[in-house]
């Protein structure tokens, strides 16, 4: 009988190249490598920022210089040389005054390769999209439609100029500059990102979406996202990420801040598909991200993430449940293959009364990868009747990967109800044979089993992205069972 051996699998895995690994040759303006006060000033100047913003950056830079890179995560990597990275790179053809029709045809061709032709996006999907290539926001579609509802959706650079009062009021309030090493770095050098404001009582009529891509070699991407949902409003926001295949490691250190005022709801979904490195573990993106949301009274923030990319991931989308009756949710699928390492999870900080949080984490490890869930549930002394439910499931493929769970619980209020469930399972040969016997080949069987395992989280994604995410899971794991 023809046997599908371990070697066949390995061979096949090698040929599965990163689908988004092309590099587009567009003229870019890139700053010299290295980081000092002058570079920080130069970024700020380049972006024609007001004085207060420059000062804010310099303050962050000062803090960052005194900090050291965190080492507590369950990951091993060569620390980036922060003086060997270019902190600003922009496609030259971008001129903020141009309309979409004037965008560099090479850039448009690149979006097409990414499957996100802006025109098409406009027509076919009810999705407003902001695209960030390297450091600069290139096009924001749907601006007009949103404007009629009073919704502001633009690059953060524009927002600093056009809505300084909002940016000044909220920037750094959820993730302070000194929060952690990468957040401080981001605060000093962030070059672009998205800004979104939903006015009181407005339900955003479409999904808002940002697409991030690192194109230029030797650059870092430090985007900054700020979403403010005013009282009683609702918004669903999605970000997607890709990067070209490169031998060297690229750094991505983003900060996302969400503010949900009284009775507001923010749904934030991420599909992260940064280049994971090749089969030997060379190259790939370091994804060191700080994401946090603040919930006021009766507000709700829901994070959903599908993480399949990056060589190293360090990411804990969190909720501060400050207002009474506020709700925080975290739904995550993290897939690691080959030599990928992920240390990801969430923090649910219960400050208000009757606050509720739910954590559903699905980790899938294959190859020689390491996949860790790290979560904190903290109940403060005045958070009466706080409730949390956590479920962390791990699925292993083969014998060389690892799954780890690090749940931390700190309860200072006796009325708290905290539940934690965890399971670890392995895709069994019996399951595969059962599928085979019904005419389903091994690749498809794995996809089916993984999708079943991830279903609770996939269901939380907006419909059009759930399909994409499902495909992404299949691609990431093709040929990975041993």
């Amino acid at each position: 009988m023809s046997k599908y051996t371990e070697d066949d699998l390995r061979e096949e895995l090698k040929t599965k190249e990163y689908e988004y690994g092309f590099y587009t040759d567009i003229e870019s303006e890139t700053f010299p490598v290295g980081l000092n006060e002058d570079i920080v000033r130069a970024i700020s100047k380049k972006k024609e920022e007001p004085e207060w913003m420059t000062e804010w950056r310099l303050e962050a830079f000062k803090v960052w210089k005194e900090m050291t890179e965190p080492e507590w995560a369950n990951v091993n990597y060569t620390k980036p040389d922060f003086q060997a990275i270019a902190y600003y790179s922009a496609p030259v053809a971008v001129d903020p005054n141009k309309t979409l029709d004037d965008v560099d045809p090479d850039l448009l061709a690149m979006y097409k390769k990414l499957g996100i032709s802006v025109d098409e996006q406009k027509k076919m999907n009810n999705v407003a999209m902001d695209i960030v290539v390297d450091s600069v926001s290139v096009a924001t579609t749907f601006k007009k439609t949103l404007g009629e509802k009073g919704i502001i959706f633009m690059s953060i650079s524009e927002a600093i100029k056009e809505h300084p009062e909002l940016v000044k009021k909220y920037l750094g309030t959820v993730v302070p500059t000194k929060d952690n090493f990468y957040a401080a770095l981001n605060s000093a050098v962030f070059s672009d990102g998205s800004f979104c404001y939903i006015p009181k009582g407005v339900r955003c009529p479409m999904e808002l979406s940002t697409y991030f891509r690192i194109n230029q070699a030797g650059t870092g991407q430090f985007e900054r996202t700020l979403v403010i949902a005013d009282e009683g409003s609702y918004v669903s926001y999605l970000e997607g990420c890709t990067a070209p295949s490169r031998d060297e490691n690229q750094l991505h250190a983003a900060v996302v801040e969400l503010i949900a005022l009284d009775d507001a709801e923010i749904k934030y979904s991420t599909v992260q598909n940064w280049f994971p490195g090749n089969a030997e573990g060379k190259g790939g993106v370091y994804n060191f991200v700080t994401k946090r949301g603040l919930c006021e009274k009766n507000a709700k923030i829901s994070w959903t993430q599908v993480e399949t990319g990056s060589a190293v991931t360090w990411k804990y989308p969190s909720c501060i449940l400050k207002g009474d009756n506020s709700v925080g949710e975290f739904y995550s699928i993290a897939v690691t293959n080959n030599y990928q390492q992920a240390d990801t999870g969430t923090k649910m900080i219960h400050l208000g009364k009757n606050t509720k949080s739910t954590i559903i984490s699905k980790g899938i490890s294959a190859g020689k990868s390491q996949n860790s869930y790290r979560g904190l549930v903290q109940i403060s002394s005045r958070a009466d009747n706080a409730r949390n439910f956590s479920q962390c499931d791990s699925l292993l493929m083969g014998n060389e990967c690892g799954a780890h769970t690090f749940p931390y619980i700190e309860a200072k209020n006796k009325s708290a109800q905290i539940e934690h469930e965890a399971t670890t399972s392995k895709i069994g040969e019996d399951q595969i044979f059962y599928c085979n016997q019904r005419g389903i080949d091994t690749e498809k069987a794995i996809a089916l089993i993984v999708n079943g395992f991830s279903k609770e989280v996939l269901n939380k994604l907006p419909m059009e992205f759930a399909v994409e995410a499902q495909k992404l899971l299949e691609i990431s794991l093709e040929g990975s069972v041993g």
């Binding site: 009988m1 023809s2 046997k3 599908y4 069994g428 040969e429 019996d430 399951q431 044979f433 059962y434 599928c435 085979n436 016997q437 019904r438 005419g439 389903i440 080949d441 091994t442 498809k444 089916l448 089993i449 999708n451 079943g452 395992f453 991830s454 279903k455 609770e456």
Partner: protein, 250 residues
Amino acid sequence: MLKINNLHASVEDKGILKGIDLEVKAGEVHAIMGPNGSGKSTLASVIAGKEEYEVTEGNILLEGEDIEELAAEERAHKGVFLSFQYPVEIPGVSVTNFMKTAINETRKAKGLEDMPAKDMLKMIREKSEMLEIDRKFLSRSLNEGFSGGEKKRNEIFQMAMLEPKLAILDETDSGLDIDALRIVANGVNKLKSKDNAVIVITHYQRLLDYIVPDYVHVLHNGKIVKSGTAALAHELEAKGYDWIKEEVNA
């Protein structure tokens, strides 16, 4: 339909099947009986193409074609169906979704388009009614939390959906109460035609009251040691297997 010649098979170098000869023609029902450890389930797995089993001698022909080199899914595409003794659980995958995938993968292998959703629904409705399966059951995760009877009924439901040429029922009666047994057996009988064949593997004669076999074979120590008609099953029920063992050893 199926022709097995001098089949020897082993798992981890331990010989289990030691020269099986069996011919099953279209329209026939064969029962394979035998004590525990005689190799009944191994025979089923080897026909279905389970990788751990190595065929060391002999061959298996399906409609004249040697299927030795075919992977399990390819055999399935050619119409081999195995109703498992212990169906596995696949959490998060509904019975419907699983069936949809199985049918469409088989169609794809034959160069056909996916089955239109409308046809699929109609088929699901018909087959689930035939097997007295509650519609809610179809949205549950495959075999997860199913009772023994539900698992077996689900296997026969899948058989009904996939319409195989050769169905092998491995201990389908175990874990069934008398009502479930009747429903399952009726289902199998309705699916029987002159164009397909059924191999029933069982330890007891009970199931054979409902699915009446044309031939009964007794497997002992990796060999078919006795063949006969339905009457043989009754004899085994009355006398047990010891007399056969003695006959063989004599």
